[in-house]
């Protein structure tokens, strides 16, 4: 069966085409102001990558914050459901899924058969999400992709007190003025977010195995902070940012 999953995230739109459980095409674009248009483009690009046409797709399920606006869909499921489904399909032993995207961080606890038992989401502020790292990389004047590797070089981590992205930004500025090395600040930023995410994971009663999905899973500095705070290794799928869309496509195959 060939299905599609469209993840209308708050910052990016991800589309995957799945054939018999395997990803055969995928594409990601910035959502921008015209998320629907971006979804159309990403859908066409992922079909092209799969060598298929829209007529080949038997069912489409949307997920993500903007899922109600996704084009062509038969139904939609939440980010909690799609993340758990995608992660569980790839790693059946998973019991906790941690998903950190641009605007939201979440922890999901699953059963052996992938059913969601409990979930916790970060509250209004961005302190548990990718937007926080972006704000901090701006404050440090470091490209976002360099923030992770940079934090791994930290020699003397400085604890960061601020829990809120706005206050954290001014704390970063103060640390810079105090001539704190950028590596140490980067590490503090990641530790701060990791502690927020770990408190979500603890809220749902996390147990291994832990699969880490969402775009922030590409950040090695954050992964390091998360593993230290969780005191366990996390599994990162090959395309962590596509797991929500993948889960949606798997759900489409069930409908």
């Amino acid at each position: 069966m060939i299905t599609a999953g469209i993840d209308m995230g708050s910052k990016t739109v991800k589309v995957v085409i799945v054939k018999d459980g395997e990803i055969v095409g995928k594409h990601m674009l910035l959502a921008g102001f015209e998320a629907q248009e971006a979804a159309e483009t990403a859908f066409a690009a992922s079909l092209e990558a799969a060598g298929l046409t829209a007529d080949d797709i038997e069912a489409i399920v949307a997920t993500g914050a903007g899922r109600k606006n996704a084009p062509h869909t038969d139904r939609d499921i939440t980010e909690v459901g799609s993340g758990a489904k995608g992660a569980h399909h790839l790693y059946p032993a998973v019991r906790t899924v941690i998903d950190v995207g641009a605007e939201e961080g979440r922890a999901i606890r699953c059963t052996e058969d992938g059913k969601v038992l409990d979930f916790a989401l970060n509250e209004k502020c961005a302190a548990g999400a990718g937007a926080f790292t972006e704000a901090m990389s701006r404050a440090l004047e470091v490209p976002i992709e360099e923030l992770g590797p940079m934090s791994l070089q930290s020699q003397n981590p400085t604890p960061m007190n601020a829990q809120c992205a706005v206050f954290a930004e001014s704390e970063v500025v103060s640390l810079l003025h105090a001539r704190t090395p950028k590596q140490d600040i980067a590490r503090s930023v990641h530790d701060a977010i990791a502690s927020r995410i770990v408190s979500l994971a603890k809220k749902v009663g996390f147990e291994p195995e832990v699969v880490f999905i969402g775009g922030v899973a590409h950040n090695p500095g954050f992964v390091d902070s998360l593993e230290r705070a969780l005191e366990c290794k996390v599994i990162i799928p090959e395309d962590p940012e596509f797991i929500g869309a993948y889960g949606a496509a798997l759900a489409a195959a069930e409908s």
């Binding site: 939440t78 909690v80 969601v116 038992l117 409990d118 979930f119 989401l121 509250e123 209004k124």
Partner: protein, 435 residues
């Protein structure tokens, strides 16, 4: 019945009357002086039956429902909150209290006209905010005589005669104080009548809450908010007791005839603590999933008085009149009033979250719930304390729990899209799809 609906629904016949009683309450308070009467202010928890002994022209303004009324008017609430902050009070205090203080600071009554200054304050102390609330009111109004009763005698299962003596002794002192403050002679017969009515109205509310054990539920929690509020205004009044009797009969009829609160009930939930009053639409949002909040410990147990019946389930507490007790003097009336109020379910968990968890699990079981939605209410320290502990207890008892953060009286701390997104995810985990 609407095509495709599982159950017939119908608006409550006595709905308009409830609205009328509430409007009249706030009008009577405001107009008390014009009509030669007295105004007093105090919490919804206070022993409101006692000032009734001063006469039939004594009108009250209970603080929490007034704060909630302000909260439901988002623009006015914002002005009140900002006025309070401008006066230097911290933003993390009880949001009912901040709304109330703002109304005084702006000198605007939520129901029109200037804020009607009370002649005296009659309060009890159930939480730290309660203790300070009227001290500030008095200061802001240039000094208002106040009497406060300390009720911190522990949970009801530990009550004994000595503890009752402590509360009743203060009540006696309070009556002396009321006479001195108002210059009126106290009428024990009016006190006794008010105690009878309070027991009657609060037992009736418990009975109405228990009728919601039926499937389909005859009432949804959003509707219950507009009904239980009358008890928070004047639980000691015959008007409220009579209304609750009429409501009880109508709700019983709905149960007998399977008249549902929502047409497609297939998922039963409860909430906890005061809701974000400016966003009661959240309850309507649930309906698209066929989900209904059938009540909560807060909605049932702030006004309703319960007891464990011989079959082990909760039912309305047996009133003194049902027990054939004739109240003959002040001491007996006060003792019954103290004992009755100290058994209030919502009062118990001020002493331990475990007591609250026990009651919540009982509700979940007896009201046949599928899940629980907990409001992590930043606006109320009193009712939110230990709520994370309650969550764990409910999960342990096998009930799925969703939480959302908000504030009953400060809409700046509530995020509607995030909350509905959580509801979507929660429904999905319960296996419930939109209808």
């Amino acid at each position: 019945m609407t095509t495709g609906a599982l159950y017939e629904t119908k608006p409550l016949n006595c709905w308009a009357k409830a609205k009328e009683i509430r409007e009249e309450y706030y009008r009577d308070y405001a107009n008390a002086h014009e009509n030669g009467g007295i105004r007093w202010a105090g919490g919804a928890w206070t022993f409101g039956a006692i000032p009734c002994g001063l006469g039939d022209d004594v009108w009250s303004l209970t603080s929490e429902p007034y704060g909630a009324s302000i909260a439901a008017n988002k623009l006015f609430s914002l002005r009140c909150l900002e006025a309070t902050e401008k006066a230097g009070y911290a933003r993390d205090l009880c949001s009912y209290m901040r709304n109330y203080w703002g109304s005084i600071l702006l000198n605007e009554y939520a129901f029109g006209g200037p804020f009607p200054k009370p002649d005296f304050i009659w309060q009890d102390h159930i939480c730290c905010s309660h203790a300070k609330w009227y001290q500030v009111v008095s200061d802001l109004e240039g000094g208002i005589p106040q009497f406060c009763i300390d009720v911190s005698v522990g949970p009801y299962h530990e009550i004994n005669e000595l503890k009752l003596d402590y509360v009743v002794g203060q009540m006696h002192d309070g009556i002396e104080w009321l006479q001195k403050t108002t210059g009126r002679t106290y009428d024990d017969a009016k006190l006794i009548e008010a105690v009878y009515q309070e027991c009657r109205s609060t037992a009736l509310w418990a009975e109405i809450s228990c009728l919601n054990k039926a499937k389909p539920a005859p009432l949804d929690e959003k509707t219950m908010y507009s009904l239980y509020v009358l008890g928070t205004l004047m639980k000691h009044s015959k008007v409220v007791a009579d209304f609750y009797e009429e409501l009880r009969d109508e709700v019983r009829w709905r149960v007998d005839n399977q008249i549902a609160a929502i047409a497609n009930e297939r998922c039963r939930l409860m909430s906890d603590t005061q809701p974000p009053w400016g966003f009661l639409s959240v309850f309507r949002y649930l309906e698209q999933f066929g989900a209904i909040s059938v009540g909560s410990l807060y909605t049932f147990g702030l006004i309703g008085m319960f007891e464990v019946k011989p079959d082990g389930t909760w039912g309305p507490r047996t009133t003194p009149q049902e027990q054939g007790i004739e109240i003959t003097d002040r001491e007996q009336a006060l003792r019954i009033l103290a004992d009755w109020n100290l058994s209030k379910p919502e009062w118990q968990h001020f002493y331990s979250p475990h007591l609250k968890t026990e009651m919540m699990v009982r509700i979940a079981r007896e009201w046949s719930l599928d899940g629980v939605i907990l409001h992590y209410n930043r606006g109320c320290e009193g009712l939110s304390i230990g709520i994370a502990e309650n969550r764990l207890g409910l999960i342990e008892a096998g009930y799925p729990v969703m939480t959302f953060e908000g504030n009953m009286g400060d809409e700046r701390e509530f995020d509607l899209p995030k909350t509905t997104a959580r509801i979507d995810a929660f429904m999905e985990t319960l296996g419930i799809k939109e209808i």
